[in-house]
């Protein structure tokens, strides 16, 4: 299947596999899903295993699944997901993204981590190192909680602290950048102001002291109480916390602005525009909002939008795939030509 540049609408009724199609593209970038366990979904279409491949901007990514994932980039096998992550840059926008605002802090950290990993190749390593050091340190804290020894605790604390800085550095500069772009896009879409604030999960300038001071607390808990795994981002719309005060429509436009902001950051840092994948996200926007969003999307290099009705105006012309169910086959596609609308 080939998608042309510009906007492509993927039109079809619910449950004909529209989302699966863009999810596959998302999978080729992140090897995970933006909703459920995609690996299982995909396996249903092949018999127990599958091969999925895609090319974007001259990079070919191929995933072979035979019980475990094997990833190839331009035919060379990758040692791990870490190495292959984000080889094809993708930004997705789905209804579930509202959870970035509404959900718990874990959702917001996950959002940070995935976004940063798409342009900072070392970031997943930093996270891995941090989690490993934290696990080791937690094991000793738990030992001590059970009355055992804290043995060589400072060794692991040093590893932990060493691993904290690059994460905090990457996250705070990402939020700063994201804030600048999001503010501008959100203003264009809604006329309102938005604020983004990175709230550190510890006093990172004095982290040694913070750990020292709270040693007893941490032993009582049996795990690490401070650090990037407690980081937060705060969203404010017109001086009020978005989570509590903003309407659902505004939240939707806020995550849209965030995702479009990420798209701009990726374009700037990778010198390559990401593919935008939009799953049913545009329903429920009023005419003015959807017009300004459409204007934004028209400037993007490649956008795939799933929708049940194709009467949304995206500009002079767009590409269209219609997906139907035929004889129970999950998806049959037809009509990939450019259609002039007006």
């Amino acid at each position: 299947m080939e998608f042309l540049e510009g906007i492509t609408l993927i039109v079809g009724d619910n449950s004909v596999g529209k989302t699966n199609l863009i999810e596959m593209i998302y999978f080729l970038s992140t090897f995970g899903s933006f909703r459920t366990q995609i690996t299982e979904n995909l396996v249903r279409f092949g018999e127990g295993f599958f091969t999925l491949s895609g090319t974007y901007g001259g990079t070919e990514v191929k995933v072979k699944y035979t019980g475990k994932k094997e990833i190839f980039i331009d035919d060379s096998m990758q040692k791990s997901i870490k190495e292959a992550f984000g080889a094809i840059p993708v930004v997705s926008l789905t209804n579930e993204d509202v959870e970035i605002i509404n959900g718990g802090p874990g959702n917001r950290r996950y959002f940070l981590d995935i976004s940063i990993s798409l342009y900072d190749r070392k970031y997943l390593n930093y996270l891995y190192e941090y989690r490993r050091a934290k696990k080791q340190r937690n094991k000793l804290l738990l030992n001590a909680k059970k009355g055992g020894r804290l043995g060589n605790f400072e060794l692991w604390e040093k590893q932990l602290i060493k691993a904290i800085y690059p994460i905090v550095e990457a996250r705070s500069s990402f939020v700063e950048k994201l804030y600048l772009y999001t503010r501008e896009i959100f203003k264009d879409l809604t006329g309102k102001t938005v604020e983004l604030e990175y709230i550190p999960g510890a006093d990172y300038d004095n982290i040694e002291e913070e750990f020292d001071k709270n040693r007893q607390h941490e032993i009582e808990a049996g795990y690490t109480l401070f650090g990037p795994h407690r980081d937060e981002i705060l969203f404010k719309v017109g001086n009020h916390q978005a989570k509590e005060a903003a309407s659902f429509g505004i939240k939707k436009l806020l995550v849209t602005s965030l995702k479009m902001g990420i798209s701009r950051i990726l374009t700037e840092t990778r010198e390559e525009e990401p593919i935008l994948l939009i799953d049913e996200m545009l329903g429920g926007l009023d005419k003015k909002n959807s017009n300004s969003l459409a204007e934004f999307l028209r400037k993007a290099k490649q956008v795939l939008i799933t929708t049940t009705n194709d009467d949304i105006k995206y500009g002079k012309d767009y590409n269209r795939y219609i997906i139907e169910e035929k004889n129970g086959t999950p998806f049959v596609s037809k009509c990939a030509e450019k259609i002039r609308t007006f």
Partner: protein
């Protein structure tokens, strides 16, 4: 039809080997069944390896004598010790031909998660060697992982008062890559570009 239990247990034991999944284990097991001579040969060399190979009493490398071929060689620089995690790392560095000193095999890395503490790996014997063998430099060549770094730091702290020069291999080896997987050139560079230990 279910294969005999003894055969299934054989497949299971093959699967416990590193890098061997279910499919490979089955393929090997059936191959050995159909080619008994291959099986006999493996059985014989396995028995020999298990009964004859032991660890060098000085450095912990594998050997059939009391001392390994490196410790008993006259052509080595006996003033430098390269500290590695496992015998396979000695193998990799020797293959790269970039090091002419002696080795010390720790036999593991510090890792509370695996219940491995300083007394569980060969660190005391390293300190003893540095004190008594006239060593001028210790190169710490553990993998650049969280555990490898913590172990390097522990060794450095415990060798500090001996006054020996302590260096760490350069991080030319990509993060997460085991020394035994690194290619010869990368290993040679990592050793050449080693730096005085700093936290």
């Amino acid at each position: 039809m279910k294969p005999p239990g003894v055969f299934l247990r054989f497949i299971q034991s093959l699967q416990s080997l590193p890098g061997i999944g279910k499919k490979s284990a089955e393929r090997i097991a059936f191959h050995i069944l159909t080619k008994p001579a291959t099986g006999e040969k493996i059985l014989h060399s396995l028995e020999k390896v298990l009964s004859e190979i032991k660890f060098c009493s000085k450095c912990g490398n594998i050997t059939i004598e009391n001392l390994c071929h490196i410790c008993s060689s006259h052509g080595r620089d006996t003033s430098i010790i390269c500290v590695v995690e496992k015998p396979m790392d000695v193998f990799a560095i020797e293959r790269s031909n970039s090091f002419k000193g002696l080795y010390h095999v720790l036999g593991g890395l510090l890792s509370p998660l695996d219940n491995t503490y300083p007394e569980d790996i060969n660190i005391d014997s390293l300190i003893e060697r540095v004190r008594t063998e006239g060593i001028s430099e210790v190169i710490i060549a553990t993998n650049p992982t969280t555990e490898g770094e913590a172990t390097a730091l522990y060794i450095e702290e415990n060798l500090k008062d001996t006054g020996v020069k302590i260096t760490r291999i350069a991080r030319g080896i990509p993060f997460g890559t085991d020394i035994d997987f690194a290619d010869d050139l990368t290993l040679t560079r990592a050793l050449e570009d080693r730096q005085e230990f700093k936290e």
